[in-house]
Amino acid sequence: MDLTLKVWRQDGPGEPGEFKEYEAKGISADSSFLEMLDFVNERLVEAGEEPIEFDHDCREGICGTCGVMINGHPHGDQKGTATCQLHMRKFNDGDRIVIEPWRATGMPVIRDLIVDRSPLDRIIEAGGYVSVNTGGTPDANLIPIPQMAAESSMDAASCIGCAACIAACPNSAGQLFTSAKLAHLNLLPQGQPERYERTVAMVDKMEEFFGSCTNHAECEEACPKSISIDNIAFMNRDYIAGKFKDRRKAGQS
């Protein structure tokens, strides 16, 4: 298939940047979106031009590095799919595809389609972990966990940290990411000792970089893992509770 690409090109952080148009001819409908970009890049290199820089790693929808805005939709308009899992057969011959990097003050463009997603790492560092005892391996299933709770924790844990939620949000809010990371620990017994400290620390860190939630639910729509905004409500409740919690009494279960 023959396509026209309109791609954001930017030489480095803080540089002005501009859109450039490229003809992408003879693209296989079986290739993935990233393979299509590889193909275009090969030709750019042959022609002595700079290839289009884009982030990617696993190419199987689990690492979360590959997000770009495709025709105004984060990861393209196919629901529940990361860019690397999007296939060219979803497009039509002759289509014009606009590819842009995520846009948010908290995630500035590094180059072309690559943005700085390190604020997400800062949020995780603030509390996205549990402390465990080292020593002998505990028996499996030693801690009983209700099936439904384990499921919702897993659903939250399926977040790949791609930042599509932030890119989709009219407020560039990091709520869906942060709440998913919180829910996957806070919903389980292992996450309880640090639950409120974690929530307050991660939310405070998030607010250093990103906007606030106005409950549009655009993030849920954009999420390649279809993570629910119910997690955001859970986070809001835990944050307020955490603000009032007497930490000296946190040892009780």
Binding site: P13, G14, N171, G211, N236
Partner: protein, 242 residues
């Protein structure tokens, strides 16, 4: 550590008193907006229901006005309880507006100046949620006019203190006022349509058991309020009450 890309309203290094520190968080601001929103919603419902008394004649509504001033009967000095309610409402209104203003600024900053080339096609956000700031501003302007018209009387040439029935008719007989009233109430309707649904999310009262009912509640509440409020100017214009 990234230093670029931080929201530019860097938090002050000095620790603020607890209550201000608390209010500085966006999540807390949303929580406070939800709580003040609940107070305002309660007021809106009571206001609409009370005004229904016009359909029972001038004595009824004038007696209702008097009862409000006499709230608490012999237990408290006259009008004191009414003033406490007024002050409480004003505070809730002011906090709601301040939090909205501050969050809007934060959000514009967080979003930055660069827009996507392809305009965002909103899939989940609806008209009501995206126009909150505009419907909110319309409601503020309307509230000021409404007070000047029917409480202070300076926007109503035929104003008579203590006679709400006559004041309301004198006000709504003017066609532009009736139209402004209708427009403002439609804006209010849009505002509370998103507000009623959204406040559960902000305070974290979210449960798969009743989540679906939040939409029904929002639509039902909005419909009752808007239809009730719109009925007054329409009834006056068509001479149903005069």
């Amino acid at each position: 550590m990234t230093t670029t890309g931080r929201r530019s309203d860097t938090k002050p290094a000095r620790k603020l008193p607890w209550i201000l520190e608390f209010y500085r968080s966006d999540v807390v601001k949303k929580w406070i907006m939800a709580l003040s929103g609940i107070i305002l919603l309660g007021y809106i419902a009571a206001h609409m229901l009370g005004n229904m008394k016009v359909y029972f004649g001038p004595e009824e509504i004038n007696a209702y006005g008097e009862a409000l001033r006499d709230l608490g009967g012999h237990l408290v000095p006259r009008t004191h309880l009414l003033w406490i309610m007024r002050i409480g409402l004003t505070i809730a209104f002011a906090i709601h507006i301040h939090a909205a203003y501050s969050l809007t600024r934060t959000n514009l900053q967080a979003r930055g100046r660069v827009r996507y080339d392809v305009p965002r096609e909103y899939l989940a956000a609806n008209y009501a949620s995206r126009t909150m700031r505009y419907s909110g501003v319309i409601v503020i302007l309307f509230v000021v006019f409404h007070l000047a018209d029917l409480t202070w009387g300076n926007a109503n040439p035929d104003f008579m203190r203590g006679n709400p029935y006559a004041n309301m008719i004198a006000s709504f007989e003017r066609v532009p006022v009736a139209i402004a009233y209708i427009v403002a109430n439609l804006a209010l309707g849009l505002h509370i349509l998103h507000g009623v649904w959204s406040l559960f999310q902000s305070i974290g009262a979210n449960n798969a058991v009743y989540n679906k009912w939040r939409r029904y509640l929002a639509w039902g509440f909005t419909a009752v309020i808007v239809l009730g409020n719109l009925s007054f100017p329409i009834a006056v214009q068509f001479g149903i009450i005069s």
